[in-house]
C-alpha cells in the first residue's frame, strides 16, 4: 500500500506531470510536490509524486556500502 516507484519526469503541465516507468507513461499529480522539472526522478505513489529522488545521495549511499563491505573491514567493527 505504501509502495512508491521511481519514475522519470518527461514533462510538467501545471499540477500534473507526465512520467515514465520502464517506458510506460503515467500521469503524476504534483499537488504534494513542487519544483519538479523534466529529467527529475520522483517517487510515484497512488498517482501522486510524493518526493524527489536525490541522485547524489543515491550514489553516496551505494558507495559507502561498497566501501564498508569491500575495503574497510576493520573500521566497521562495532
Amino acid at each position: 500500500m505504501c509502495l512508491a516507484i521511481p519514475a522519470k519526469v518527461i514533462s510538467v503541465n501545471g499540477v500534473t506531470a507526465l512520467v515514465t516507468i520502464e517506458d510506460v507513461e503515467y500521469t503524476a499529480s504534483l499537488l504534494l510536490l513542487d519544483d519538479v522539472n523534466p529529467g527529475d526522478f520522483i517517487m510515484l505513489h497512488a498517482g501522486f509524486a510524493i518526493q524527489k529522488v536525490d541522485a547524489d545521495e543515491a550514489a553516496e549511499t551505494l558507495q559507502l556500502l561498497q566501501d564498508e563491505v569491500n575495503n574497510r573491514p576493520d573500521e566497521f567493527k562495532p
Binding site: 505504501c2 510524493i50 529522488v53 536525490d54 551505494l62 556500502l65 567493527k77
Partner: protein, 359 residues
C-alpha cells in the same frame, strides 16, 4: 531500470550478508513495520542470507490488514445505500467483513469502483452529480496526504457530492504501543515512504526513550540488507539512534507540503487497529471545518455487530507474536483465492506474502 537495478546486485547483497555474519554476535529481533518491506524480504529470499542471530518479524504495516472490522463493515453498509458510489483502492475489495465483502456486494449490484488515485473519485463525482461518492480512505502517512489533497481540491472546485470515510492512521503510536505491550524488539526497520512524508523526528522517542535502533529503509534487497547491517552495528555497539539508509528519498524534514495538507485536513483521534485494539491518537479524523466531506457525518448506517473470522490469528501476527505458519487455517482453509482474514487478502499482508513465496 534506474534506482532499481543497482539495488538488486547479487554480489553486493552477498557481500553485505557476509559482513553481517562476521559482525553479528548478539541474538536480536528486528521488526519491519511496512508491508512493502515484508514483501521484499520474502520475494528476494533475504531471510536465508541472515546469520542465525538475527530474526526478522513483521509488524502492523499493512493498512488493509490493520483496518478494524468496524471500518470494513461500515464500508459494506455504505455500499448498500441507494444513490451511493463507493470508490476504493483495489486492496480492500476482497477483505471479508463480518457477513460479506465489497466484492460480493458489487456482484449483488452495489456500485463499487476500484480506483488507482483518489483524484479519480472527484471525476466520478462530477460525472454523477445526482449520486454521492464515498472514498474509503485507508493508508498511513504515505497515502493520507493524497486524500487530504483530494478533499482540498473538492473544496476548491465546490464538489459537494464527494465524501471520505477515513480510516487513515499514523505509525509512531502503534510502534510505541507494541514496545510498551512487551513485544520483544531490539530495533525497527522503519517505513521508507511514510518517512519520505514525515521526516525522521517521529522516531526519536523510540531511540532515546525506549533505547531501540531505528533505520529508515528503502525497499530493494540491497536497501534491506544494508538496513539490517546498520541496525546490527547499532545494537552490537550499544548505541541506539535513528538513521536513514534510504537517503535518496528520505530527508530529516520530510515533505513539508504534504505535512501541511495533512494538518489542514486531518486531526489525530484515538483509533481501532485489528489485533491491537484502541490506540490513542493513532488515527486521522477529518477536521470539523471540512466535515461536509466526512462520510461519517452525512450517512447514518446500521452496522451489524462486528466479529473477527473464527480461528484467524491475523491480530497476533500483526503484533509480531506469531507467524502465518502458526495458524491452523494458513494454506488450508485460508488462501489468497479464498482468504479468511485480512492478512491473507492484501498482497502485502504477511500471510499472503508467506503463501506466495513459501518454499
Amino acid at each position: 531500470m534506474k534506482y532499481i537495478d543497482e539495488y538488486r546486485k547479487k554480489d553486493l547483497i552477498l557481500s553485505v550478508s557476509e559482513k553481517l555474519k562476521s559482525i553479528s554476535t548478539k541474538a536480536i529481533v528486528l521488526m519491519e513495520v511496512c508491508g512493502g518491506h515484508t514483501m521484499a524480504i520474502h520475494r528476494f529470499g533475504l531471510l536465508s542470507l541472515l546469520p542465525p542471530t538475527i530474526r526478522l518479524i513483521s509488524g502492523p504495516g499493512c493498512p488493509v490488514c490493520v483496518s478494524s472490522q468496524l471500518f470494513i463493515d461500515t464500508a459494506m453498509a455504505y455500499s448498500k445505500v441507494p444513490g451511493v458510489i463507493v470508490t476504493t483502492y483495489g486492496d480492500l475489495i476482497r477483505v471479508p467483513g463480518s457477513t460479506t465483502s465489497l466484492e460480493k456486494e458489487r456482484a449483488s449490484g452495489g456500485d463499487i469502483r476500484i480506483i488507482y488515485s483518489v483524484l479519480e473519485s472527484l471525476g466520478i463525482a462530477k460525472k454523477n452529480p445526482d449520486k454521492s461518492v464515498i472514498f474509503l480512505g485507508i493508508g498511513f502517512e504515505t497515502t493520507a496526504p493524497a486524500t487530504a489533497a483530494a478533499i482540498l481540491q473538492a473544496k476548491r472546485e465546490n464538489i459537494t457530492n464527494f465524501f471520505v470515510l477515513s480510516a487513515h492512521k499514523v505509525m509512531p503510536p502503534v510502534m510505541e504501543a507494541l514496545v510498551k505491550e512487551g513485544v520483544i524488539i531490539d530495533g525497527f526497520i522503519a517505513p521508507g515512504h511514510v518517512s519520505a512524508i514525515t521526516g525522521t523526528a517521529i522516531y526519536n522517542d523510540l531511540a532515546s526513550v525506549f533505547g531501540l535502533g531505528v533505520v529508515v529503509s528503502g525497499f530493494e534487497p540491497v536497501d534491506m540488507m544494508q538496513s539490517v547491517l546498520m541496525l546490527a552495528v547499532q545494537i552490537e555497539s550499544g548505541k541506539s539512534k535513528v538513521e536513514v539508509q534510504y537517503q535518496r528519498v528520505v530527508n530529516s524534514e520530510g515533505n513539508k507540503i504534504a505535512q501541511q495538507m495533512l494538518n489542514e485536513v486531518f486531526e489525530l483521534r484515538d483509533d481501532r487497529w485489528r489485533g491491537l485494539g484502541l490506540i490513542a491518537k493513532s488515527g486521522l479524523k477529518i477536521r470539523d471545518n471540512l466535515s461536509s466531506f466526512d462520510a461519517e457525518k452525512h450517512f447514518t448506517v446500521e452496522v451489524p455487530e462486528s466479529s473477527e473470522p473464527k480461528g484467524c490469528i491475523c491480530g497476533q501476527i500483526l503484533r509480531g507474536l506469531k507467524t502465518p505458519v502458526d495458524c491452523g487455517l494458513f494454506g488450508k482453509k485460508c488462501t489468497p483465492s479464498e482468504p479468511v482474514g485480512a492478512c491473507m487478502v492484501s498482497g502485502e499482508g504477511t500471510c499472503a506474502t508467506y503463501f506466495k513465496y513459501r518454499s
